[in-house]
Amino acid sequence: MTAQAPDPVTRQPYLLQLERLQRPAIGPVTLDVAAGECVCISGPSGTGKSQLLRAIADLDPHDGEVRLSGHAAAAITPPEWRRQVGLLPPESSWWLPRVPDHFHSGAPLPLAEVGLTEAILEQPVARLSSGEKQRLALLRLLANQPRVLLLDEPTANLDPENTRRVEAMIAAYRESREAAVIWVSHDREQAARVCERHYAVVDGALQLQAVESPA
């Protein structure tokens, strides 16, 4: 079913494969991400990074193909695909009055790991800060247990301490669940901290960057 070479280590198809994926501002992009691997994408605003993530989550029509464990998106129902290929948008949306209403299961949330307390669950969503909402949106996404995380500036509204906490939580999730991560970030230092491969968008194409070793 897959035209691309399998992962040389596992002999299985890569967990996430993009093949000539194309949107107006970006592409064609061909990229393999292995289970448990994190790839960073950076570049100025308007270069199509968000468009790329939206196409992978199948939210916009696109040319090219995306595969999960060798299965094309077309073979999987859209809701199931989006649960497995979870996109965290730069701005979170909340449509019910309280935070817990947005979580389907009543399982306890690891609030402390992202620097929040239980008290936040009692507050109306309208009173939360954008940084609080961003961290809660990450917990909401992870509650679906996606196999692929598409993170669009997940720490944009956070102070350095909470940025570290979010990075640690994503790293722990990636390791424990063997998830593939595509992380869009403007911050080169963050890219060096969190990912194995770092690409910059240049003229609509992904260009591999040298990963600076963390200081």
């Binding site: 989550a57 199948d58 939210l59 916009d60 029509p61 998106a73 859209p78 809701p79 199931e80 989006r82 649960r83 979870g86 996109l87 948008p89 701005e91 979170s92 949306s93 449509w95 909401r140 996404l141 679906n144």
Partner: protein, 261 residues
Amino acid sequence: MIILSVADLAIAATLVLLLALLSLRMHPDLGRQLVFAALRTAIQLSLIGLVLKVLFENASLLWVTLMASVMLLIAGREVMVRQERRFRGWWGYAVGTFSMFVSSFVVTIFALTVILGDDPWYTPQYAIPLLGMLLGNTMNGISIAMDRLTQTAWEQARTIEARLMLGERADEAIADIRRQAIRSGMIPIINAMAAAGVISLPGMMTGQILAGAAPLDAVKYQILIMFLIAAGTGLGTLAAIAVGSRHLFDARQRLCLDRLR
């Protein structure tokens, strides 16, 4: 019934002219619009009176169907232009016209055959006014509901997509908006039924009483009409919102705002 003469109407027309003269001083354009609208009323109603006269004298199914189709197509256009963000292309026209056809025609034919049972069932004296009242009211309900659906979907696109991203189906992601749209389409007829006879005397009933019908007979007709309108508006609104909310998404359950203008 007291038959009106042209002179009677001319006397009533002087009231409109007086009002137009009065408003000329405050708002020159308003006076002109008032006279123009009054002229349109006189001409349009005279024409439809002639059409109905001919139709009543030639009560054939063909002519009644033709008349009903013309009324439907005009009402369909009205539903379309009343929506600020309607669907692009022929969809913008088809959604409203299709749902009005489904609701108004079904309810009218049901009332004509099962309830009134005249012979023939399409007797224009009953068929055309009934259909007219149903079209006029379902038109309101459908255009309000569709306007609400498309407008809200446009404004809350981010929320709808956030719900899709979390693995909700398209119909779950739009469910709240669909509910609000249906409600806003149904509210006018619910209010009209609640206010009937207390705050307002419905026009049809008043007309029958003026024409010499016994008040209780006129009331029975009005109740029938209210129920038919409620059923027609409800059916039409449900149909329009069901079709419209589905057409906001494509086969891969992506929100397609580019289908709106």
